[in-house]
């Protein structure tokens, strides 16, 4: 017997009722909707456990949840904006004594003391002795961390170094983490919400693939924020995020599409911030000296020759890369510390800069002995082998592939064949892994990028011999550079350190293991009609969010800017004049005019449908008509 149709419908309806119940969220405490601050991001956080998170987004969660020991001020200088109220250095530079803020409480009400700081640092140090070492954070030259009393932390170093001040490590509550083994910390421990920390906002809910909610920490030691809840909202679709910002569904957004930045910035209620990234993108030349090992290293010995790499530097038009691949949002690259870290960035003198000039590239290649002796338009290396380079680049950014193709064209003009391979980032990592780490370093050039911390130490470390088998992807090895690297770690003053880091940057520029292509812009935008009091970190060239502090989360006030002229600090260089224009409190959705073409398109489409219908009708009338009813 057939089941009666009606019964089936009822069953389907019941199944639906059940499904619905399962996806409805549970009841949660209410927060006034207008005191919620919503930030859109296309990169979801990957973990709430600081020892497992690799993505930039997660670090925004950590600065909301936790405090570090030494914080950063408005211009990324070390400042008592976090748990350490003050610090002293012994005369030999090997002992740091930190005074910890008193009266700080964890978000669960437990007192936070110097013991928690010592616990966190020792947790990382102790893990290094096991098979489950925590490698995401480094405590350079630290040998001992102690808390003699509740308000003092004493850190002993093997050599004098100020790097301990820049350790960007969230301080964790001992009463929760003492029961977590290193193996768990590296694997199954997810640090699920509600997270317990000392930061101004605590994660209470993470709906994977949707959003993370942070509520105000009522035990926070600092200024009580006006914002009651922060939401990081994930958008799988970047266009949808830009639309949501214009509609006012979110208050700010990170990583605006360059192609839409201008339109968004033109909105009277939105300020676009064309900030600088703390990093760079580069061509990395495979300098691995295979020493004859089978299948190891690059395809030609020419890659090991600084003169070859220097010549190729003249065959890249960085200005054009910025204007075409980055839509103009970025700066042409030079050295390996980005200009955002203005204290440390070194700009080579104009006379040393490689300017785009194919003829210059050709003559330098000739002079270095890379000639086209068989006249096929392609040069041979000194062993007489045709040079045919293979470039690998990850598929994470559209501008990587675009840049690679432009570069291939210029190299070709200089007589060097370049094949471009765009693949997923893990395979790129696999290609650039040398035998020291169980790989084969099977590539010629890698196009990728790096991001650094507020201290330049990490970006400089990439070129040390120690890092071959570690972070190094050029396998640059220069004893002189290695020596300078350790010297800068123990330089007694900033000026002395700066003199050394300048020398290091100049050295990398000259030897060219990297050709730094550009410093791409970090495009953010925020609405001015619901909150005011925005600041950028650093003040010049910085961004409001995803920085190294919580200024805006703590200081923003509800409502539009009360006076027409905002304080100087809120105006970003490169931001539109709209930033300083008086903001209109009345939102006018859909009036931007940008959607008119789409509406017209829709109408044309409708007319098209009707026209097709008419044509079909005429066609049928003419055609033979079989027995119709």
């Amino acid at each position: 017997m057939r089941m009666p149709l009606r019964t089936r419908v009822v069953r389907v309806a019941m199944a639906f009722g059940l499904g619905l119940g399962a996806v409805l969220p549970a009841l949660r405490p209410a927060v006034a909707a207008d005191l919620i601050y919503r930030i859109g991001t296309t990169q979801e956080i990957d973990s709430l456990n600081p020892f497992q998170a690799y993505l930039y987004s997660s670090y925004e969660a950590f600065i909301l949840n936790y405090d570090v020991l030494v914080g950063f001020g408005p211009d990324l200088e070390y400042a008592p904006t976090a748990l350490a109220e003050s610090w002293d250095v012994s005369t030999d530079g090997k002992t740091y004594t930190f005074k910890i803020r008193s009266g700080v409480q964890w978000s669960d009400g437990q007192p936070m003391t110097a013991k928690d700081v010592a616990f966190t640092y020792n947790y990382i140090l102790d893990s290094l002795e096991t098979d489950n070492s925590i490698t995401l954070f480094t405590l350079t030259k630290v040998t001992k961390v102690e808390a003699p009393d509740d308000s003092t932390v004493v850190i002993t170093l093997s050599d004098p170094s100020s790097l301990i001040l820049g350790a960007y490590i969230p301080i964790l509550p001992e009463h929760i983490w003492k029961d977590v083994t290193f193996e768990q910390a590296n694997n199954e421990f997810a640090n699920d919400p509600p997270v317990v920390g000392t930061g101004p906002f605590q994660a209470v809910e993470w709906q994977k693939g949707q959003f993370t909610r942070f509520v105000r920490n009522e035990h926070y030691w600092g200024t009580k924020p006006a914002i009651e809840e922060v939401q990081l909202i994930y958008f799988a679709n970047q266009d949808a995020m830009d639309q949501a910002l214009q509609k006012g569904e979110i208050d700010a957004a990170r990583s605006i599409l360059p192609s839409q930045f201008k339109q968004i910035d033109d909105d009277p209620n939105i300020v676009g911030v064309d900030g600088a990234t703390n990093g760079f993108d580069q061509l990395s030349f495979n300098g691995y000296d295979g020493k004859g090992a089978e299948g190891v290293g690059g395809s030609t010995k020419a890659l090991l020759d600084p003169k070859f790499r220097d010549a190729l530097g003249y065959a890249v038009d960085k200005d054009l890369l910025v204007s075409q691949a980055l839509f103009g949002y970025g700066e042409p690259g030079t050295t390996v510390i980005p200009p955002l870290l203005s204290t440390w960035h070194y700009q080579p003198p104009a006379s040393d800069l490689r300017k785009f000039d194919i003829e210059e590239a050709k003559s330098r290649l000739e002079a270095a002995g890379y000639k086209d002796s068989n006249g096929d338009g392609n040069r041979e290396d000194k062993e007489g082998k045709e040079i045919s380079l293979n470039l690998v680049t990850p598929d994470t950014n559209a501008y990587y592939a675009q840049s690679a193709n432009l570069i291939a064209e210029w190299y070709k003009q200089a007589g060097i064949k370049l094949n471009v391979q765009v693949i997923d980032k893990d395979t790129v990592t696999e290609y650039v892994t040398p035998p020291e780490a169980d790989g084969k370093a099977n590539f010629d050039i890698e196009l990728w990028g790096w991001g650094g911390g507020p201290d330049p130490d990490f970006l400089l470390s990439i070129f040390t011999t120690d890092q071959i088998g570690g972070w190094s992807d050029s396998f640059y090895s220069n004893p002189e550079y290695d020596k300078l690297y350790s010297d800068q770690q123990i330089a007694p003053t900033q000026a002395e350190r700066k003199a050394i880091t300048d020398q290091m940057q100049a050295m990398v520029y000259k030897d060219a293991p990297y050709d730094v292509l550009y410093y791409s812009a970090e495009l953010q935008a925020y609405r001015t009609d619901k909150w005011h009091g925005y600041t950028l970190q650093p003040r010049t060239g910085g961004t409001p969010f995803f920085t190294f502090g919580v200024e805006n989360y703590v200081n923003l006030q509800p409502g539009p800017e009360p006076t027409p002229a905002p304080p100087e600090a809120t105006t970003a260089p490169g931001a539109s004049p709209a930033a300083s224009a008086p903001t209109s409190p009345v939102e006018t959705p859909g009036s931007s005019g940008s959607n008119t073409p789409l509406l017209i398109g829709g109408i044309i489409l409708l007319i098209g449908v009707i026209a097709i219908g008419m044509i079909a009708m005429r066609g049928r009338r003419r055609g033979p008509e079989p027995d119709d009813e």
């Binding site: 057939r2 389907v12 639906f16 499904g19 619905l20 996806v23 409805l24 969220p25 009841l27 949660r28 990957d46 973990s47 690799y54 098979d131 489950n132 070492s133 694997n187 199954e188 421990f189 997810a190 809910e205 709906q207 994977k208 693939g209 949707q210 909610r213 909202i233 994930y234 958008f235 799988a236 679709n237 949808a240 639309q243 949501a244 509609k247 997923d424 893990d426 990592t429 696999e430 892994t433 780490a437 169980d438 088998g469 570690g470 972070w471 959705p589 859909g590 959607n595 789409l598 398109g601 449908v609 097709i612 219908g613 079909a616 009708m617 049928r620 008509e625 027995d627 119709d628 009813e629």
Partner: protein, 323 residues
Amino acid sequence: MGGNYLGRKAFQALVTLLFVLIVNFLLFRAMPGSAERILLRNPHISAEQLEAQRVRWGLNKPVFPDQLVDYLAATAQGDLGFSFEFRGQRVTDVILAKIGPTILLIGIGEVIALVLGLALGAYSGWRRGGPVDYVGTSLALVLYSMPSFWLGMILLIIFSTSLGMFPGNGMITPGITGDPLTRLADLMGHLILPGVTYAIGYVGQYSLLMRSSVIEVLAEDYVLTARAKGLTEGRILRSHGLPNALLPTVTLVAINLGYIWAGAITVEQVFSWPGLGTLTVSALGSRDYPVLQGIFLLLSFSVIAANFVADIIYSRLDPRVRS
């Protein structure tokens, strides 16, 4: 006879499933890149640590037969292992959390598509040559051929951004509170645009199939007989036309239902709907092999199951296939 038919079909389904399992296993082992390296995502580790990870994840054993046998045994027990991306979470938990939203989206979409599509198709076929047929058929063709991500963007821009009628991102308003009805309304509001986007494509497909099927059936001899007996046109359609015309549609719907997990990738991506589609994309992006393997398994299983169910329903609707 009937039991025999069922048994044969069930056996076929099982063999297919086993085959899929093995291909699934081999496929991911054949991809470039080593799993333990992806797991660690950090080149800055020692050889000892790499080895410890290999042991931990059973990667130190030979792929064949040890790893394959382990995999088949674990899968049979419903253990799909741990996700790489969401550390410490079982693949089954990661996938289960996303099944609800996808079923909801696809369910609503399929219901809309079925009701509208079958009604439009049946009417167009019945009143063939009429104005509804002309407009309906050309409309169905246009809808059928529209790429869903493009349609989704257009709907998003018109109904979400410009008119502000519906939300265009996610499944619920973050942190929403209130009684279950308010939350249900919020969920429904989020569901409308993706649901309609999904449905529109299938309305066209179903109505075209239903139309041609009705036309074919109405030309049959038994319909002529019924008409000769003096039955009304409506009665003929209800008693003789529709039940027979539904046969091919059942097959199509069953096969579509098998693909529902995959069918929503583009729609889910446009509206950031937290279902299996967005999970697939993010798992691909981060090379979360265990999760991908789980999704593939679920997908193949549902296609095989849907075909099996279609065979059963078909044999019930049409006694001829059983013999």
